[in-house]
């Protein structure tokens, strides 16, 4: 959907303010550290690729072996305990209440919860 310039500018101004915000920068730095670390980034990419491949095969009716599921769980565990990834996830958990407060400012003006309307992962009917 094409947005009018006024909305685009207001959305980009908010994004810019968030990028410059010290609290949010803690998460952005942790995220960047993962992206710049070949081991951490590689592990994550490997997990995504394996997940997508397993899901595709399962959707086509194939039964996955226990070894394959175990290998997936083992890789998922390695990703979860990687220090840089764990640090990023912890930083994200810490900024979530802050992000909610920012979204509250939008919701207050709208009179309706912004995140329910805008979260693509939410059907809106809940």
């Amino acid at each position: 959907m094409e947005l009018i310039p006024e909305i685009k500018q207001a959305a980009l101004d908010l994004a810019e303010a968030m990028k410059n915000d010290e609290t949010i920068q803690i998460y952005l730095s942790a995220k960047e550290a993962v992206q710049k670390n070949p081991e951490a980034a590689g592990l994550e990419n490997q997990l995504i690729e394996l997940y997508e491949s397993l899901i595709n095969r399962q959707q086509q009716g194939e039964k996955l072996s226990e070894e394959e599921i175990e290998a997936f769980n083992s890789l998922r565990y390695q990703v979860r305990v990687h220090p840089l990834i764990a640090q990023r996830e912890s930083a994200l958990a810490q900024i979530k209440p802050y992000l909610a407060q920012i979204a509250d400012e939008i919701s207050y003006i709208l009179g309706i919860d912004y995140t329910t309307l805008a979260d693509v992962h939410c059907s809106g009917g809940c």
């Binding site: 810019e16 949010i24 979530k96 400012e105 003006i109 309307l117 805008a118």
Partner: protein, 133 residues
Amino acid sequence: MDGSFEQSFAAEEKALNVFQAGRALGEALVETPVYQNFLSALKAINDDPEIQRIATQMRSHQNALQMSIDGRDHQAELARLQAELEALPIVQQYRQTESEALAFFRAVDDLISESIGFAFAHNAHRSSCSCGA
């Protein structure tokens, strides 16, 4: 002047900017026709006596469903009432404006998320949806 005070004042100013920017975005969004149409349609369904009548009946069947062992009759009646509700022109109008509003807000959020590098609304959501998201 104390440097630490200046630093703390500057940090507070920055933090305020985030909230001010959020409020400014809200003010821009609330004026848009797509949001105003959605609000009007929402108000219309909330004020409609026919919808209230169907909603009351649906609540009664939902309550009965929670308490009864064999809920097939209540389930069938609920499905019938839901279909009756969805067939009303006022509800179809609401669904249309709701769909447009969701597409609009998701486009706004996509723009913010692409710019900051993570999903804003999804991570700002206070609780997980009952839909499982």
